[in-house]
Amino acid sequence: MDWLHWLFYVGVILGAVPVMVMAFIWLERRGLGRLQLRPGPNRAGPFGILQPVADAIKVLTKEDIVPVAGDHWVHFVAPLVVFAPAMLVFTVIPFQEDGGLVRGLVPDLNIGILYIVAVSSISTVGVFMAAWGSNNKYSLISAFRSMAQVVSYEIPLALAILGVVLAAGTMSLTGIVQAQAVPFIVMQPLGFIIFFIAATAELNRTPFDLMEAESEMVAGYHIEYSGMKFALFYLAEYAYTVGISAIAATLFLGGWKAPWGVGPQVGVLWLVVKILLVFMVILWIRGTFPRVRVDQLMGFAWKFLFPLSLINIFIIAAESLAWPGLPWWLLFPNTAIALVLVVVWSGLFRLGGGRVQV
């Protein structure tokens, strides 16, 4: 193990992620404001750019309140259990081509993507610990919902990633990026749609934010948290959003590669641009759609995403056996199949005031 390399990346990840999170919080609040015909924060600094700093200072000097009825130790440990896996996601993201100056902490872990799927579901345990430790019914309902949601969307997410693994023939993220002569978003549009929706649900962001549905259960699982512990939850939530955006960029948008090979060959730059792009789409969706109901949520995962993701992997598997090189013209049949499947499958669902049934 190269200690200098390790030390450098620990510094980079622990420094860059909070900074990026603060930038994204600002971006989200401004962008969400513009989407909803309002200016967003605009008092602290020019364009409100110091707003996250002001929030950080505020949250740092807040009184720490622990409910007496709760379980103090579980309450204390929960933010750590949510936060640490969020940071662990970034360890395997490759920043640049081999031989470049900056590559990432462990960019070519041989089971990189499986590791990410495994690590990113740990934080649900933290969420449940937070709810259980708070001894609050709002928290607990939120945690129940969160468990059901994460459990349901985990499978479409993993199956959508499987399509990428099939096409690339490797689980290492570096290998996956190198396999993308044409980005997989064009080659596997169905896989990307499923991945994106399932990832949005895994992140618990609108329209799938049932666990912190403000109008129903106040703040969800972190209702009893204040001060720095709350900040850690918030940081973890946004770090996950950045992480999932980074994974989406790596798996489907060609990671560090410059599009069509043009432009400066600085991998980190392109990665950040792509992360930003994915994040903007998540933000756009958040600013547009209303929250789904619980039955719609579960029905959508099991009746829409799951069958389609199974069909997706079989299509990709058959294609990669028939044409092992996966030539670029496969994107036309794949796009057509994706469109037809989405339209036909969504036609199965009944609209109206009742339950979603097939």
């Binding site: 513009r34 909803q36 015909l37 605009n42 756009w284 547009t288 759609f289 036609g347």
Partner: protein, 168 residues
Amino acid sequence: MSRFDRFGLGLAKGLALTGKTLFSRPNITVQYPEQRLDVSRRLRGPELIWVSLKCTGCATCAKSCPQGSIQLVTSPELVDNKYQVEEFLVDHGRCMFCGLCVEACPFDALYMGRGYERAAYRRGDLILPKEKLQMSADRKPSAYCRPEMEAELPLQTLLVYGQTRAKR
């Protein structure tokens, strides 16, 4: 087209709408301390304005007040066919701004105000004596129950799709 509404077209429509607002700037938020909207000309703002020259000290306002929040003390001798008002106290903390005193005043000596920033830190600060009830630069009367004043007052600004515009 309605056939395709169930195939995700509604989602696309919603995204298009929010995407459009992202790049146009129809900002309907009023930046409050810097920008203010003109209120309705007949606003019953949370203050009473008393014109001492017109007042005869008849105490009709005090009698009409359902809350009993007006206290009026006059001296018995008449000067210029008016009682001299010695004390005129209005408890704005108890007042519910129904405007009955303004309607009851036979000499148009009371007005509802147009101000709306009348919060105070102490309840006692809300009880105003007659010196503070006078009309002044930041205590302007509204045209509530005084329709003859209406023409001089600025029109109300309404927030309609991005622009603050006056509308009759």
